[in-house]
Protein backbone atom coordinates (compact mmCIF):
# COMPACT_ATOMS: atom_id res chain seq x y z
CA UNK A 1 0.00 0.00 0.00
CA UNK A 2 2.81 2.38 0.96
CA UNK A 3 4.57 1.62 -2.33
CA UNK A 4 1.41 1.53 -4.39
CA UNK A 5 0.66 5.26 -4.22
CA UNK A 6 4.03 6.58 -5.48
CA UNK A 7 3.99 3.86 -8.15
CA UNK A 8 0.53 4.83 -9.33
CA UNK A 9 1.36 8.55 -9.32
CA UNK A 10 4.55 7.86 -11.27
CA UNK A 11 2.58 5.90 -13.86
CA UNK A 12 0.03 8.73 -14.22
CA UNK A 13 2.85 11.24 -14.69
CA UNK A 14 4.33 9.02 -17.38
CA UNK A 15 1.00 8.75 -19.21
CA UNK A 16 0.53 12.53 -18.91
CA UNK A 17 3.91 13.35 -20.46
CA UNK A 18 4.32 10.46 -22.92
CA UNK A 19 1.90 11.65 -25.65
CA UNK A 20 3.60 15.05 -25.75
CA UNK A 21 7.05 13.46 -25.80
CA UNK A 22 6.02 11.14 -28.63
CA UNK A 23 4.83 14.04 -30.79
CA UNK A 24 8.12 15.86 -30.22
CA UNK A 25 10.18 12.78 -31.13
CA UNK A 26 8.07 12.11 -34.26
CA UNK A 27 8.53 15.70 -35.42
CA UNK A 28 12.25 14.99 -35.84
CA UNK A 29 11.70 11.78 -37.81
CA UNK A 30 13.34 11.36 -41.19
CA UNK A 31 10.70 9.10 -42.76
CA UNK A 32 7.75 10.15 -44.91
CA UNK A 33 5.17 8.58 -42.60
CA UNK A 34 4.86 8.34 -38.86
CA UNK A 35 6.72 5.42 -37.35
CA UNK A 36 7.67 5.17 -33.72
CA UNK A 37 10.47 5.07 -32.82
CA UNK A 38 11.66 6.82 -36.00
CA UNK A 39 14.21 4.91 -38.04
CA UNK A 40 16.08 8.09 -38.93
CA UNK A 41 16.11 11.67 -37.71
CA UNK A 42 15.96 14.94 -39.63
CA UNK A 43 14.64 18.48 -39.55
CA UNK A 44 12.78 18.07 -42.85
CA UNK A 45 9.30 18.52 -41.37
CA UNK A 46 10.34 21.73 -39.66
CA UNK A 47 11.77 22.82 -43.00
CA UNK A 48 8.38 22.12 -44.59
CA UNK A 49 6.64 24.11 -41.83
CA UNK A 50 8.95 27.11 -42.00
CA UNK A 51 9.28 26.97 -45.79
CA UNK A 52 5.57 26.85 -46.64
CA UNK A 53 4.12 30.37 -47.09
CA UNK A 54 0.66 29.16 -46.03
CA UNK A 55 1.94 27.82 -42.71
CA UNK A 56 3.87 31.07 -42.26
CA UNK A 57 0.73 33.12 -42.93
CA UNK A 58 -1.07 31.09 -40.26
CA UNK A 59 1.76 31.66 -37.82
CA UNK A 60 1.52 35.44 -38.35
CA UNK A 61 -2.26 35.36 -37.96
CA UNK A 62 -1.89 33.50 -34.68
CA UNK A 63 0.74 35.96 -33.45
CA UNK A 64 -1.31 39.02 -34.38
CA UNK A 65 -4.52 37.71 -32.84
CA UNK A 66 -2.74 36.60 -29.66
CA UNK A 67 -1.02 39.99 -29.29
CA UNK A 68 -4.33 41.85 -29.51
CA UNK A 69 -5.99 39.44 -27.08
CA UNK A 70 -3.03 39.61 -24.68
CA UNK A 71 -3.00 43.42 -24.48
CA UNK A 72 -6.79 43.80 -24.18
CA UNK A 73 -7.23 41.05 -21.60
CA UNK A 74 -4.25 42.09 -19.48
CA UNK A 75 -5.20 45.79 -19.33
CA UNK A 76 -8.92 45.19 -18.70
CA UNK A 77 -8.14 42.33 -16.31
CA UNK A 78 -5.70 44.44 -14.30
CA UNK A 79 -8.26 47.17 -13.58
CA UNK A 80 -10.95 44.63 -12.77
CA UNK A 81 -8.67 42.63 -10.47
CA UNK A 82 -7.70 45.86 -8.69
CA UNK A 83 -11.37 46.69 -8.15
CA UNK A 84 -12.03 43.18 -6.82
CA UNK A 85 -9.13 43.31 -4.38
CA UNK A 86 -9.35 46.93 -3.19
CA UNK A 87 -12.91 48.13 -3.63
CA UNK A 88 -16.07 47.16 -1.87
CA UNK A 89 -19.09 46.79 -4.13
CA UNK A 90 -22.26 44.79 -4.24
CA UNK A 91 -22.44 41.55 -6.24
CA UNK A 92 -18.70 40.87 -6.22
CA UNK A 93 -19.02 37.11 -6.33
CA UNK A 94 -21.69 37.15 -9.03
CA UNK A 95 -19.65 39.48 -11.24
CA UNK A 96 -16.53 37.35 -10.85
CA UNK A 97 -18.43 34.19 -11.80
CA UNK A 98 -19.86 36.07 -14.81
CA UNK A 99 -16.38 37.13 -15.94
CA UNK A 100 -15.15 33.53 -15.62
CA UNK A 101 -18.13 32.23 -17.63
CA UNK A 102 -16.56 32.40 -21.14
CA UNK A 103 -14.18 29.55 -20.26
CA UNK A 104 -17.06 27.48 -18.87
CA UNK A 105 -19.72 27.95 -21.57
CA UNK A 106 -19.42 25.45 -24.46
CA UNK A 107 -17.09 27.18 -26.95
CA UNK A 108 -19.05 25.87 -29.93
CA UNK A 109 -22.10 27.83 -28.81
CA UNK A 110 -20.09 30.98 -28.06
CA UNK A 111 -18.32 30.69 -31.41
CA UNK A 112 -21.50 30.19 -33.42
CA UNK A 113 -23.10 33.18 -31.70
CA UNK A 114 -19.98 35.28 -32.35
CA UNK A 115 -19.98 34.17 -35.98
CA UNK A 116 -23.67 34.96 -36.34
CA UNK A 117 -23.07 38.56 -35.29
CA UNK A 118 -19.66 38.96 -36.97
CA UNK A 119 -20.99 37.79 -40.34
CA UNK A 120 -23.69 40.46 -40.23
CA UNK A 121 -21.15 43.14 -39.29
CA UNK A 122 -18.66 41.95 -41.92
CA UNK A 123 -16.04 41.16 -39.28
CA UNK A 124 -15.32 37.53 -40.19
CA UNK A 125 -11.62 37.20 -40.98
CA UNK A 126 -10.74 40.46 -39.22
CA UNK A 127 -7.68 39.73 -37.08
CA UNK A 128 -8.30 42.52 -34.56
CA UNK A 129 -11.86 41.39 -34.06
CA UNK A 130 -10.81 37.76 -33.53
CA UNK A 131 -8.31 39.12 -31.00
CA UNK A 132 -11.17 40.88 -29.18
CA UNK A 133 -13.15 37.63 -29.08
CA UNK A 134 -10.12 35.74 -27.77
CA UNK A 135 -9.62 38.43 -25.12
CA UNK A 136 -12.88 37.37 -23.44
CA UNK A 137 -11.56 33.80 -23.25
CA UNK A 138 -8.19 35.02 -21.94
CA UNK A 139 -9.72 37.37 -19.36
CA UNK A 140 -10.47 34.65 -16.74
CA UNK A 141 -6.82 33.50 -16.77
CA UNK A 142 -5.65 37.09 -16.32
CA UNK A 143 -8.10 37.70 -13.49
CA UNK A 144 -7.11 34.57 -11.56
CA UNK A 145 -3.41 35.43 -11.76
CA UNK A 146 -3.81 39.14 -10.97
CA UNK A 147 -6.26 38.61 -8.10
CA UNK A 148 -3.57 36.67 -6.28
CA UNK A 149 -0.78 39.04 -7.37
CA UNK A 150 -2.61 42.17 -6.20
CA UNK A 151 -3.41 40.59 -2.86
CA UNK A 152 0.35 40.59 -2.34
CA UNK A 153 0.50 44.40 -2.70
CA UNK A 154 0.37 45.98 0.76
CA UNK A 155 -2.40 48.63 0.84
CA UNK A 156 -0.31 50.60 3.38
CA UNK A 157 2.15 51.48 0.60
CA UNK A 158 -0.66 52.92 -1.49
CA UNK A 159 -1.99 54.92 1.44
CA UNK A 160 1.51 56.22 2.11
CA UNK A 161 1.87 57.41 -1.49
CA UNK A 162 -1.56 59.04 -1.41
CA UNK A 163 -0.91 60.77 1.91
CA UNK A 164 2.38 62.10 0.53
CA UNK A 165 0.42 63.83 -2.20
CA UNK A 166 0.59 61.42 -5.12
CA UNK A 167 -2.56 61.34 -7.25
CA UNK A 168 -4.57 58.13 -7.65
CA UNK A 169 -3.27 57.50 -11.15
CA UNK A 170 0.32 58.26 -10.10
CA UNK A 171 0.01 55.86 -7.15
CA UNK A 172 -1.31 53.22 -9.50
CA UNK A 173 1.47 53.76 -12.04
CA UNK A 174 4.41 54.25 -9.66
CA UNK A 175 3.45 51.99 -6.72
CA UNK A 176 0.91 49.33 -7.61
CA UNK A 177 2.06 48.46 -11.14
CA UNK A 178 5.79 48.10 -10.27
CA UNK A 179 5.06 45.90 -7.24
CA UNK A 180 2.57 43.76 -9.16
CA UNK A 181 4.75 43.75 -12.31
CA UNK A 182 5.75 40.05 -12.18
CA UNK A 183 2.08 39.11 -11.81
CA UNK A 184 1.13 41.36 -14.69
CA UNK A 185 3.81 39.79 -16.90
CA UNK A 186 2.61 36.28 -15.93
CA UNK A 187 -0.97 37.24 -16.70
CA UNK A 188 0.06 38.65 -20.08
CA UNK A 189 2.01 35.50 -20.95
CA UNK A 190 -0.89 33.17 -20.17
CA UNK A 191 -3.37 35.46 -21.93
CA UNK A 192 -1.16 35.25 -25.02
CA UNK A 193 -1.01 31.45 -24.72
CA UNK A 194 -4.78 31.12 -24.23
CA UNK A 195 -5.33 32.92 -27.53
CA UNK A 196 -2.41 31.33 -29.38
CA UNK A 197 -3.76 27.83 -28.63
CA UNK A 198 -7.47 28.62 -29.08
CA UNK A 199 -9.18 26.64 -31.84
CA UNK A 200 -12.97 26.78 -31.93
CA UNK A 201 -13.53 30.56 -32.03
CA UNK A 202 -10.82 30.88 -34.69
CA UNK A 203 -12.44 28.04 -36.63
CA UNK A 204 -15.62 30.08 -37.00
CA UNK A 205 -14.23 33.62 -37.15
CA UNK A 206 -11.23 33.34 -39.48
CA UNK A 207 -11.27 32.82 -43.24
CA UNK A 208 -8.85 31.07 -45.60
CA UNK A 209 -6.54 34.10 -45.59
CA UNK A 210 -6.43 34.57 -41.82
CA UNK A 211 -6.66 31.04 -40.41
CA UNK A 212 -4.49 30.41 -37.35
CA UNK A 213 -2.08 27.54 -36.65
CA UNK A 214 -4.60 25.49 -34.62
CA UNK A 215 -7.19 25.93 -37.40
CA UNK A 216 -4.72 24.70 -40.01
CA UNK A 217 -3.84 21.70 -37.83
CA UNK A 218 -7.57 20.98 -37.46
CA UNK A 219 -8.09 21.14 -41.24
CA UNK A 220 -5.10 18.88 -41.90
CA UNK A 221 -6.22 16.32 -39.30
CA UNK A 222 -9.45 15.86 -41.20
CA UNK A 223 -7.51 15.00 -44.34
CA UNK A 224 -4.53 12.94 -43.25
CA UNK A 225 -2.06 12.66 -40.41
CA UNK A 226 1.07 14.02 -42.10
CA UNK A 227 4.35 14.42 -40.20
CA UNK A 228 4.30 18.20 -40.78
CA UNK A 229 1.54 18.33 -38.15
CA UNK A 230 3.95 16.76 -35.66
CA UNK A 231 6.45 19.54 -36.40
CA UNK A 232 3.81 22.27 -36.05
CA UNK A 233 2.54 20.64 -32.85
CA UNK A 234 6.08 20.54 -31.53
CA UNK A 235 6.36 24.25 -32.32
CA UNK A 236 3.17 24.90 -30.27
CA UNK A 237 4.52 22.71 -27.43
CA UNK A 238 7.72 24.76 -27.62
CA UNK A 239 5.75 28.00 -27.24
CA UNK A 240 3.97 26.54 -24.18
CA UNK A 241 7.32 25.43 -22.71
CA UNK A 242 8.83 28.86 -23.36
CA UNK A 243 5.93 30.63 -21.64
CA UNK A 244 6.05 28.28 -18.64
CA UNK A 245 9.80 28.88 -18.43
CA UNK A 246 9.42 32.67 -18.61
CA UNK A 247 6.68 32.49 -15.97
CA UNK A 248 8.95 30.50 -13.66
CA UNK A 249 11.72 33.08 -14.17
CA UNK A 250 9.31 35.94 -13.42
CA UNK A 251 8.04 34.17 -10.31
CA UNK A 252 11.65 33.77 -9.21
CA UNK A 253 12.10 37.54 -9.58
CA UNK A 254 9.01 38.12 -7.49
CA UNK A 255 10.38 35.93 -4.72
CA UNK A 256 13.79 37.63 -4.67
CA UNK A 257 12.12 41.05 -4.79
CA UNK A 258 10.14 40.19 -1.68
CA UNK A 259 12.97 38.91 0.45
Amino acid sequence: MRRALPGFVGLVCLVLMLPIAIVVVLAFSGGTFLHFPPTSFSLRWFAVFFGDPRWQASLWSSLEIASVACVLATVAGFFAAYAFVRRGFAGKKLLLSMLLLPTIAPTVITSIAMYFLSARLGLVGNLVWVGCCHAVIALPVVLLILLSALQGVDPVLERAALSLGASRSRTMLRVVVPIAAPGIVSAGLFAFLASFDELVISLFLTNVATQTLPVRIWNSLHLEIEPTIAAVSTFLIGVTALILLLDTAVRGLRRTARS
Partner: protein
Protein backbone atom coordinates in the same frame (compact mmCIF):
# COMPACT_ATOMS: atom_id res chain seq x y z
CA UNK B 1 -21.71 58.88 0.81
CA UNK B 2 -18.21 57.49 1.00
CA UNK B 3 -19.45 54.06 0.07
CA UNK B 4 -21.09 55.46 -3.03
CA UNK B 5 -17.91 57.23 -4.14
CA UNK B 6 -16.02 54.00 -3.69
CA UNK B 7 -18.66 52.26 -5.76
CA UNK B 8 -18.21 54.77 -8.58
CA UNK B 9 -14.43 54.22 -8.65
CA UNK B 10 -14.99 50.47 -8.68
CA UNK B 11 -17.43 50.87 -11.56
CA UNK B 12 -14.87 52.76 -13.59
CA UNK B 13 -12.21 50.11 -12.94
CA UNK B 14 -14.59 47.32 -13.88
CA UNK B 15 -15.89 49.07 -16.99
CA UNK B 16 -13.37 47.69 -19.54
CA UNK B 17 -13.90 44.06 -18.49
CA UNK B 18 -17.66 44.36 -18.17
CA UNK B 19 -17.91 46.13 -21.52
CA UNK B 20 -15.80 43.45 -23.15
CA UNK B 21 -17.90 40.65 -21.65
CA UNK B 22 -21.13 42.40 -22.63
CA UNK B 23 -20.19 43.27 -26.20
CA UNK B 24 -18.18 40.23 -27.25
CA UNK B 25 -19.83 37.47 -25.19
CA UNK B 26 -23.30 38.31 -23.90
CA UNK B 27 -24.53 40.40 -26.83
CA UNK B 28 -23.69 37.82 -29.53
CA UNK B 29 -25.37 35.06 -27.53
CA UNK B 30 -28.51 37.07 -26.83
CA UNK B 31 -28.68 38.30 -30.43
CA UNK B 32 -28.21 34.76 -31.75
CA UNK B 33 -31.08 33.35 -29.66
CA UNK B 34 -33.43 36.31 -30.13
CA UNK B 35 -32.84 36.56 -33.86
CA UNK B 36 -33.17 32.86 -34.70
CA UNK B 37 -35.96 31.99 -32.27
CA UNK B 38 -38.09 35.10 -32.03
CA UNK B 39 -37.51 37.11 -35.21
CA UNK B 40 -36.84 34.46 -37.85
CA UNK B 41 -39.41 31.96 -36.63
CA UNK B 42 -43.12 32.64 -36.27
CA UNK B 43 -44.28 32.62 -32.62
CA UNK B 44 -46.93 30.01 -33.40
CA UNK B 45 -44.39 27.64 -34.93
CA UNK B 46 -41.82 27.89 -32.16
CA UNK B 47 -43.24 25.39 -29.60
CA UNK B 48 -43.64 22.75 -32.32
CA UNK B 49 -40.14 23.44 -33.59
CA UNK B 50 -38.63 23.13 -30.14
CA UNK B 51 -40.46 19.85 -29.55
CA UNK B 52 -39.33 18.51 -32.96
CA UNK B 53 -35.68 19.36 -32.40
CA UNK B 54 -35.47 18.12 -28.82
CA UNK B 55 -37.25 14.84 -29.55
CA UNK B 56 -35.52 14.16 -32.85
CA UNK B 57 -33.71 10.84 -33.00
CA UNK B 58 -30.34 12.52 -33.60
CA UNK B 59 -30.74 14.79 -30.57
CA UNK B 60 -31.92 11.99 -28.26
CA UNK B 61 -28.97 9.81 -29.23
CA UNK B 62 -26.60 12.76 -28.87
CA UNK B 63 -27.95 13.54 -25.40
CA UNK B 64 -27.52 9.95 -24.23
CA UNK B 65 -24.02 9.78 -25.75
CA UNK B 66 -23.04 13.12 -24.21
CA UNK B 67 -24.24 12.21 -20.73
CA UNK B 68 -22.73 8.75 -20.86
CA UNK B 69 -19.31 9.87 -22.08
CA UNK B 70 -19.24 12.82 -19.67
CA UNK B 71 -20.11 10.57 -16.75
CA UNK B 72 -17.43 8.01 -17.64
CA UNK B 73 -14.84 10.76 -18.19
CA UNK B 74 -15.72 12.43 -14.87
CA UNK B 75 -15.50 9.19 -12.91
CA UNK B 76 -12.27 8.11 -14.62
CA UNK B 77 -10.68 11.52 -14.00
CA UNK B 78 -11.78 11.34 -10.35
CA UNK B 79 -10.40 7.83 -9.81
CA UNK B 80 -7.06 8.78 -11.39
CA UNK B 81 -6.95 12.34 -10.09
CA UNK B 82 -7.72 11.70 -6.43
CA UNK B 83 -4.61 9.65 -5.62
CA UNK B 84 -2.44 12.09 -7.59
CA UNK B 85 -3.84 15.11 -5.74
CA UNK B 86 -3.54 13.25 -2.42
CA UNK B 87 0.10 12.54 -3.18
CA UNK B 88 0.69 16.21 -4.07
CA UNK B 89 -0.98 17.47 -0.92
CA UNK B 90 0.80 15.12 1.47
CA UNK B 91 4.35 14.79 0.11
CA UNK B 92 7.38 17.05 0.38
CA UNK B 93 8.04 19.87 -2.05
CA UNK B 94 10.71 18.21 -4.17
CA UNK B 95 8.67 15.22 -5.32
CA UNK B 96 5.49 17.25 -5.57
CA UNK B 97 7.26 19.67 -7.94
CA UNK B 98 7.89 16.88 -10.47
CA UNK B 99 4.25 15.76 -10.32
CA UNK B 100 3.02 19.37 -10.63
CA UNK B 101 5.25 19.75 -13.70
CA UNK B 102 3.71 16.64 -15.30
CA UNK B 103 0.20 17.98 -14.67
CA UNK B 104 0.87 21.60 -15.67
CA UNK B 105 2.65 20.95 -18.99
CA UNK B 106 -0.29 19.08 -20.60
CA UNK B 107 -2.72 21.55 -18.95
CA UNK B 108 -1.17 24.44 -20.86
CA UNK B 109 -0.60 22.53 -24.10
CA UNK B 110 -3.06 23.23 -26.91
CA UNK B 111 -6.11 20.91 -26.88
CA UNK B 112 -5.67 20.21 -30.58
CA UNK B 113 -2.07 19.11 -30.00
CA UNK B 114 -3.07 16.88 -27.09
CA UNK B 115 -5.85 15.32 -29.19
CA UNK B 116 -3.48 14.81 -32.12
CA UNK B 117 -0.98 13.06 -29.86
CA UNK B 118 -3.55 10.42 -28.92
CA UNK B 119 -4.59 10.01 -32.57
CA UNK B 120 -0.95 9.22 -33.33
CA UNK B 121 -0.90 6.65 -30.52
CA UNK B 122 -4.26 4.96 -31.18
CA UNK B 123 -4.63 5.18 -34.98
CA UNK B 124 -4.70 2.09 -37.20
CA UNK B 125 -1.15 3.01 -38.30
CA UNK B 126 -0.55 4.33 -34.79
CA UNK B 127 2.13 3.42 -32.33
CA UNK B 128 0.20 0.76 -30.39
CA UNK B 129 -1.05 -1.06 -33.49
CA UNK B 130 2.33 -0.82 -35.19
CA UNK B 131 4.13 -2.28 -32.18
CA UNK B 132 1.61 -5.10 -31.84
CA UNK B 133 1.79 -5.87 -35.57
CA UNK B 134 5.61 -5.79 -35.53
CA UNK B 135 5.62 -8.14 -32.56
CA UNK B 136 3.28 -10.48 -34.42
CA UNK B 137 0.69 -10.39 -31.64
CA UNK B 138 -2.14 -9.29 -33.95
CA UNK B 139 -2.79 -9.93 -37.63
CA UNK B 140 -4.83 -6.78 -38.34
CA UNK B 141 -4.85 -3.37 -36.62
CA UNK B 142 -7.17 -3.11 -33.62
CA UNK B 143 -9.94 -0.52 -33.93
CA UNK B 144 -8.64 1.74 -31.16
CA UNK B 145 -9.45 5.10 -32.73
CA UNK B 146 -12.77 6.62 -33.90
CA UNK B 147 -15.04 5.14 -31.23
CA UNK B 148 -16.29 5.99 -27.73
CA UNK B 149 -13.26 4.32 -26.20
CA UNK B 150 -10.88 6.76 -27.89
CA UNK B 151 -13.15 9.74 -27.09
CA UNK B 152 -13.07 8.75 -23.43
CA UNK B 153 -9.29 8.42 -23.38
CA UNK B 154 -8.75 11.71 -25.21
CA UNK B 155 -11.20 13.68 -23.07
CA UNK B 156 -9.94 12.21 -19.80
CA UNK B 157 -6.41 13.15 -20.85
CA UNK B 158 -7.46 16.72 -21.63
CA UNK B 159 -9.59 17.21 -18.50
CA UNK B 160 -7.54 15.31 -15.89
CA UNK B 161 -5.42 18.38 -14.98
CA UNK B 162 -8.60 20.33 -14.05
CA UNK B 163 -9.56 17.52 -11.68
CA UNK B 164 -6.10 17.21 -10.11
CA UNK B 165 -5.68 20.97 -9.60
CA UNK B 166 -9.18 21.39 -8.11
CA UNK B 167 -8.71 18.44 -5.73
CA UNK B 168 -5.24 19.63 -4.79
CA UNK B 169 -6.54 23.11 -3.89
CA UNK B 170 -9.18 21.55 -1.63
CA UNK B 171 -6.78 19.08 -0.02
CA UNK B 172 -4.16 21.72 0.70
CA UNK B 173 -6.72 23.42 2.94
CA UNK B 174 -7.08 20.30 5.13
CA UNK B 175 -5.36 20.88 8.47
CA UNK B 176 -2.74 18.14 8.97
CA UNK B 177 -3.20 18.55 12.75
CA UNK B 178 -6.58 16.82 12.39
CA UNK B 179 -4.90 13.77 10.90
CA UNK B 180 -2.25 13.76 13.64
CA UNK B 181 -5.01 14.02 16.22
CA UNK B 182 -6.82 11.02 14.73
CA UNK B 183 -3.58 9.03 14.78
CA UNK B 184 -2.79 10.07 18.33
CA UNK B 185 -6.22 8.86 19.35
CA UNK B 186 -5.28 5.47 17.98
CA UNK B 187 -6.91 5.29 14.57
CA UNK B 188 -4.99 3.41 11.87
CA UNK B 189 -3.78 4.87 8.56
CA UNK B 190 -6.62 3.73 6.37
CA UNK B 191 -9.25 4.39 9.04
CA UNK B 192 -7.96 7.97 9.43
CA UNK B 193 -8.11 8.42 5.67
CA UNK B 194 -11.65 7.04 5.39
CA UNK B 195 -13.17 8.83 8.40
CA UNK B 196 -11.20 12.10 8.45
CA UNK B 197 -9.43 12.87 5.18
CA UNK B 198 -12.05 11.63 2.71
CA UNK B 199 -14.98 13.55 4.27
CA UNK B 200 -12.86 16.70 4.50
CA UNK B 201 -11.91 16.43 0.82
CA UNK B 202 -15.49 15.78 -0.29
CA UNK B 203 -16.26 19.34 -1.39
CA UNK B 204 -13.12 19.22 -3.55
CA UNK B 205 -14.40 15.99 -5.09
CA UNK B 206 -17.72 17.68 -5.82
CA UNK B 207 -16.04 20.78 -7.33
CA UNK B 208 -13.68 18.68 -9.44
CA UNK B 209 -16.43 16.37 -10.66
CA UNK B 210 -18.67 19.33 -11.50
CA UNK B 211 -16.01 21.24 -13.44
CA UNK B 212 -14.98 18.15 -15.43
CA UNK B 213 -18.61 17.22 -16.14
CA UNK B 214 -19.49 20.80 -17.18
CA UNK B 215 -16.53 20.96 -19.57
CA UNK B 216 -17.31 17.44 -20.86
CA UNK B 217 -20.91 18.06 -21.88
CA UNK B 218 -19.86 21.03 -24.02
CA UNK B 219 -16.71 19.42 -25.40
CA UNK B 220 -16.18 19.62 -29.13
CA UNK B 221 -12.62 19.30 -30.43
CA UNK B 222 -11.63 15.91 -29.01
CA UNK B 223 -14.89 14.01 -29.71
CA UNK B 224 -15.10 15.55 -33.19
CA UNK B 225 -11.61 14.31 -34.06
CA UNK B 226 -11.50 11.03 -32.13
CA UNK B 227 -15.08 9.81 -32.43
CA UNK B 228 -16.58 7.54 -35.09
CA UNK B 229 -19.48 8.49 -37.38
CA UNK B 230 -22.07 7.37 -34.82
CA UNK B 231 -20.49 8.98 -31.75
CA UNK B 232 -22.08 12.40 -31.98
CA UNK B 233 -22.19 14.59 -28.90
CA UNK B 234 -24.57 17.54 -28.51
CA UNK B 235 -21.89 20.18 -29.19
CA UNK B 236 -21.01 18.38 -32.44
CA UNK B 237 -24.68 18.21 -33.44
CA UNK B 238 -24.93 21.97 -32.93
CA UNK B 239 -21.89 22.54 -35.12
CA UNK B 240 -23.18 20.18 -37.81
CA UNK B 241 -26.59 21.81 -38.03
CA UNK B 242 -24.85 25.11 -38.71
CA UNK B 243 -21.97 23.93 -40.92
CA UNK B 244 -23.74 21.27 -42.95
CA UNK B 245 -27.50 21.92 -42.72
CA UNK B 246 -27.32 25.73 -42.32
CA UNK B 247 -30.19 25.19 -39.88
CA UNK B 248 -29.66 28.06 -37.43
CA UNK B 249 -32.93 27.53 -35.61
CA UNK B 250 -32.24 23.93 -34.62
CA UNK B 251 -28.72 24.95 -33.63
CA UNK B 252 -30.15 27.71 -31.42
CA UNK B 253 -32.63 25.39 -29.71
CA UNK B 254 -29.99 22.75 -28.98
CA UNK B 255 -27.56 25.46 -27.86
CA UNK B 256 -30.10 26.95 -25.51
CA UNK B 257 -30.63 23.57 -23.85
CA UNK B 258 -26.91 22.84 -23.54
CA UNK B 259 -26.14 26.35 -22.30
CA UNK B 260 -28.95 26.21 -19.71
CA UNK B 261 -27.70 22.91 -18.31
CA UNK B 262 -24.17 24.34 -18.22
CA UNK B 263 -25.35 27.48 -16.39
CA UNK B 264 -27.31 25.52 -13.77
CA UNK B 265 -24.34 23.24 -13.08
CA UNK B 266 -22.00 26.25 -13.02
CA UNK B 267 -24.25 27.98 -10.48
CA UNK B 268 -23.97 24.91 -8.25
CA UNK B 269 -20.21 24.85 -8.87
CA UNK B 270 -19.76 28.48 -7.73
CA UNK B 271 -21.66 27.64 -4.53
CA UNK B 272 -19.64 24.53 -3.81
CA UNK B 273 -16.29 26.04 -4.78
CA UNK B 274 -15.11 28.88 -2.66
CA UNK B 275 -14.49 31.43 -5.41
CA UNK B 276 -14.79 34.10 -2.73
CA UNK B 277 -11.37 32.86 -1.63
CA UNK B 278 -9.95 34.25 -4.88
CA UNK B 279 -10.95 37.77 -3.93
CA UNK B 280 -9.82 37.23 -0.37
CA UNK B 281 -13.24 38.15 0.98
Amino acid sequence: MRARRRDRAALLLLLPSVLMLALVFVLPLVWFFVRTLFIDSAPTELPGLVADVLTSRAMLIAMVTTNWISLVVTLTALLIGYPVAYYLATRGRGRAAIVVFCVIVPYFTSVIVRTYSWMVILGSHGIINQSLLDAGLIAAPLPLLYNQFSITIGMTYVLLPYMVLTLYAAMKAIDPALLRAARALGSGGFYTFRRVYLPLSMHGVLSGALIVFILSIGFFITPALMGGPSDVMVAMLVERSVEIMLDWQSAAIMSLLLLSVTLVLYAIYTRVTDIQRLIGG
